[in-house]
Subunit: 328 residues, 2 copies
């Protein structure tokens, strides 16, 4: 009898099965929580594998170091971390790796830590055939707990920025040809590559949330980041919070030169690695926040119903018949 | 010009160079320290790579899971962790990996956590060509700070148990032939394989240390574990504490059936993966502790001098002209 492999069972089922080995409260969120006497710590682990998440052609080691840190900090922020303490780094490197590659990687790591706070706490290093960079990041849980399962029907869905750019940058860096390549705006191309190689996060987001909170009793907010794409983020929120997301396609913030068409919608919703926050707030709070921070956009709302995503314009729902990034 | 690779510069120089990217206090110890308002956390990361640290022939996935956890807990204990909070797991697995392999790995992980405390807090999973298991473990710093740099001249060097067994187990599991194989005691073979596949640690060690402390003012103890071999542990302590280790070969605890000879000395001092603690204490404390715990043995002492290791019997010093485990 053929024993089932990871390829057979697929990523979703793998996560589901691994979840059974973990305490229930730790499964559905971006970060794990460690309770200490006075403060709670947020912990996140992210793993980048050569020829799966990066290669020598599409990103230079300094940008890779930056991005590895930022993807972890994005998860901390999306759980409500008020301060990044630091990271540990587990590196697997082939012996033929040039020292300068490692040096550049660490320069990028420290650049991101200088920008967003935190320091290298320690790590481990081993030889291996392919490069692997696994980073575990630690932050301090702030006053607001941001959790995937805290969205509520009636709340407004918001996002901190534009999606799809990182995917376009990835395609450009991998020199993948596509039909209307030559009609693409140069500014958009440069911006997209910047988003792919040097993504940014918004440490000020938490302060702005606190500043605009009208009801001090609210301590939990539904939130995740769009590292696996906007669609996946919305789905994760809907599933964890047991409610239905209704998205207004017209309200979705796009780059002014972003082309129209099915393919471009696919990049936008399924591209991933944009590290924008996707979250929901009561109406008044949402209005105050998007007034204070012009990068934040309302894109829809949650309602009662089967955990799912729908566009209010039914014609747009075909976009959703798509597959997300497959890990296996 | 040939750019220097990691193979060219070697492991020691690599660690030295990476150290420059880290805050100074975090370089020389088994764990990193995270200060929170009331408690300090200890954090350790260890990375196991297929065909470097393990393969499908020499260890089954359940034992591998156990061992991956234990090697991390050993580092926490050797820094004075009074309680293991939990671990995060970063997994790289080829898509052809059978689910049952992953399930067995997690069973071994949870068996070790059940035995020694702690839970799975979270993690990440990605595909890749070779299996990589990177675990980050968290513990709470106890009253006694165990640190590599806290040994003092005049202190007695002790170890919690017998070395070399794991190396012998490794050779047996890899079916490596050696001359006097047939003269080996069967009990010793079984015990060695057990040590290699299912290493154990001593969570009671810290309590026994506290129980036998005669001077309550002493808060820091020189300590590390012998995961990279007894010699490496002694060298790490000597280097970090700037003192000289004098070892009494006759006092070193060996299995009663451990053969004599240069090769067996090499396995004993350089074998690694025994996860015994190697530490130093003031004379009186050392005496009290080895009286209370019969597995603990005095094996020498630290003295003023250039950081180094010497046997008091000069004839034995040839053992030390050897190389340790090379990571690159």
């Amino acid at each position: 009898m053929h024993k089932k492999t990871l390829e057979d069972i697929g990523e979703k089922e793998l996560i589901n099965r691994l979840g059974k080995f973990m305490p229930k409260n730790q499964i559905s969120d971006d970060c794990a929580l460690i309770k200490t006497k006075n403060e709670n710590l947020l912990v996140n682990t992210d793993c980048l594998v050569e020829n799966v998440h990066f290669n020598d052609i599409n990103i230079c080691p300094m940008d890779l170091g930056w991005k590895a840190v930022v993807s972890n900090i994005s998860d901390l922020l999306s759980s409500g971390s008020k301060k990044t303490i630091g990271i540990t780094i587990s590196l697997v490197l082939p012996p033929r790796t040039e020292w300068i590659w490692v040096e550049e990687l660490y320069k990028g790591i420290n650049k991101a830590l200088k920008e967003y706070g935190g320091m290298i706490l320690g790590g481990d290093c081993s030889k291996g055939d392919d490069k692997v960079i696994s980073i575990t990041a630690f932050g301090i849980q702030g006053e607001l707990e941001l959790r995937r399962n805290a969205c509520k029907p009636g709340e407004i869905i918001l996002t901190t920025g534009i999606h799809g750019l990182s995917k376009l940058g990835f395609l450009m860096q991998n020199k993948i040809n596509f039909d209307n390549q030559f009609s693409l705006n140069e500014r958009l191309i440069i911006k997209s590559i910047e988003h792919f190689c040097r993504p940014r996060v918004y440490p000020n987001f938490l302060n702005n949330l606190l500043k605009t909170r009208s009801n001090k009793k609210i301590k939990r907010i539904g939130c995740t980041d769009s590292s696996d794409g906007l669609f996946q983020a919305l789905q994760d929120l809907a599933m964890a919070s047991s409610c239905k997301a209704i998205i207004d396609y017209e309200k979705i913030p796009k780059d002014k030169d972003w082309p129209n068409g099915d393919k471009w919608d696919e990049y936008y919703f399924f591209g991933g690695e944009d590290y924008e926050l996707v979250f929901s707030l009561p109406k008044k709070w949402a209005k105050n926040l998007s007034k204070l921070d012009k990068n934040i956009n309302e894109i829809g709302f949650f309602t009662d119903g089967k955990p799912s995503i729908e566009f209010n314009d039914n014609k747009k729902n075909k976009i959703l018949n798509n597959t997300t990034f497959k890990h296996f």
